[in-house]
């Protein structure tokens, strides 16, 4: 009598669509987190504006801003589930937890990409960075790969925090050290893309490889671990 249980893919799609629709409807990230990140970058520019320091640290600032925004985005994406205890409802539905993990991750990747586009554009204007075509290609690749890693770790630890009620505290503690390597690799690669401190484009690509490894590792690990971390 019960419905046939749906496939992992369709669960993932339903969750990702729903998350993106909620963001589209509530615009919390666009209206709240994005201006926040923007103002962070403006204030940094104001605090550091002398002697070309700003250009030198611009890549680091961009990725710091991404990192903080990603923390808030992860928190928000699980706050949606806890608000009226939809998390329990999803658990009782007995659907594939891999599907839930993938859905959450995809929604996070999409939102992070949007953020990065805006933040990178902002940094080009605010920090007066010059970007060549080759640099742009490098930057896009870096963003994509870095996002996969950030999103996978975010979904994993965000899920853990939401499952262990009232322990959202754990999120930054777990997430920040875990994604620090991603941050560093992305910063170094962006330095090459922005050509700061005499870095050349060629120096950037090895970092991209590293990001790809992290992304793959984190997604794989997340897929395996999510069920264990969030259930019961």
């Amino acid at each position: 009598m019960t419905h046939n249980s749906t496939s992992t893919i369709s669960v993932a799609r339903a969750i990702a669509t729903k998350d993106l629709r909620i963001e589209w409807r509530s615009k919390v990230l666009v209206n709240q987190v994005l201006p926040f990140a923007g103002i962070v970058m403006v204030l940094f520019a104001f605090a550091l504006d002398n002697d070309g320091i700003l250009q030198r640290v611009a890549p680091g600032l961009v990725w710091l801003a991404v990192l903080f925004s990603s923390l808030i985005i992860v928190q928000r994406t699980f706050a949606i589930e806890s608000a009226d205890n939809a998390l329990d409802a999803i658990k009782v539905a007995g659907v594939s937890s891999v599907g839930v993990f993938l859905g959450k991750s995809v929604a996070l990747v999409v939102q992070l990409l949007l953020f990065e586009c805006v933040l990178v554009l902002l940094s080009l204007v605010l920090y007066q960075v010059h970007l060549s075509w080759g640099g742009a290609v490098l930057l896009v690749t870096v963003s994509l790969l870095a996002n996969v890693g950030l999103a996978a770790m975010g979904a994993l630890y965000g899920g853990l925090g939401a499952a262990a009620k009232g322990r959202e505290t754990l999120l930054p503690l777990l997430l920040l050290p875990a994604v620090a390597p991603v941050l560093i690799a992305a910063t170094r690669a962006t330095e090459s893309a922005f050509r700061v401190g005499g870095a050349t484009l060629g120096e950037g690509w090895p970092w991209v490889a590293l990001l790809a490894v992290f992304g793959a590792l984190f997604s794989f690990g997340g897929t395996l671990a999510f069920g264990v971390l969030t259930e019961e």
Partner: protein, 250 residues
């Protein structure tokens, strides 16, 4: 079924004979200002032709100040007036909207000018930064007006914000004195009252201020009437909604 108890706002003009007259005056003075700014005044000794940007940049900044001050005064009149008249609130809103436009204009012309004289669109200089903050503050003010709730509530909330926000203007004005700044020091109105500027340039600048002020008045007049009609539409929508709600009861 037309349930609006008043003529359709769509057909109500926002102009009156007086405001149309004012509009014509503004238009003609604009033409004259363009002539003065682009043709009749000389180039600056140091800045060359780029100085012509001043005739927009400075009036726009000053009229934006004026607009924000008008917003504050109108808000105060709303709050401390016996009637709590929404007219004052709408004037405050209209004036802030126009002020944000002028402030934006000043920011844009300033950064163009900066590109020409300092070689960069933007510098993290106190005047520039505080100006940007002032701009953001009034964008925030407009967002508060948009929060929803009753009209009176909107008026009260935004009135408070307007009174707080206006305090930032002195900060922008004195920022060049307070912090070491790249930006032009107060060159027209110096603290000691001296005026240091070539005659026709000064005249053009002051004429620009006058024209922009008139433009401001004209825009606020119309905008204020549009806001009045928008509020009326809201109230008219209420009648229809009430009717529908009563129908639920059958």
């Amino acid at each position: 079924m037309n349930i609006h108890p008043f003529p359709s706002p769509v057909d109500t003009p926002t102009g009156t004979r007086a405001s149309r007259g004012l509009g014509i005056v503004v238009f003609l003075s604009m033409v004259l200002l363009t002539l003065l700014g682009l043709v009749l005044t000389d180039e600056d000794v140091v800045q060359g032709s780029t100085v012509r940007l001043m005739y927009i940049h400075v009036p726009a900044a000053w009229v934006a100040y004026l607009a924000f001050i008008v917003t504050a005064i109108a808000s105060a009149m709303y709050m401390w007036g016996k009637q709590h008249s929404l007219t004052f609130d709408r004037i405050a809103g209209a004036s802030a909207e126009v002020g944000v436009i002028f402030m934006g204009l000043s920011l844009v012309t300033g950064s163009l000018w900066g590109r020409l004289t300092w070689g960069t669109y933007w510098q993290w200089d106190p005047r520039l930064t505080t100006t940007a903050f002032l701009f953001v503050t009034y964008v925030g003010y407009l967002a508060v007006r948009d929060l929803g709730g009753s009209h009176q509530q909107r008026a009260k909330r935004s009135g408070v914000v307007a009174l707080l926000a206006v305090l930032e203007i002195p900060l922008v004005h004195f920022s060049v004195v307070l912090w070491r700044s790249l930006h032009q020091k107060a060159s027209v109105l110096q603290p000691n009252g001296n005026v240091t500027m070539d005659g026709l340039m000064l005249f053009t600048l002051l004429f620009g201020v006058a024209v922009f002020t008139l433009l401001f008045v004209w825009m606020v007049l119309h905008r204020q009437r549009v806001l009045t009609l928008a509020d009326a539409i809201d109230d008219g929508g209420l009648e229809a909604a009430l009717q529908e709600r009563r129908n639920e009861a059958n």
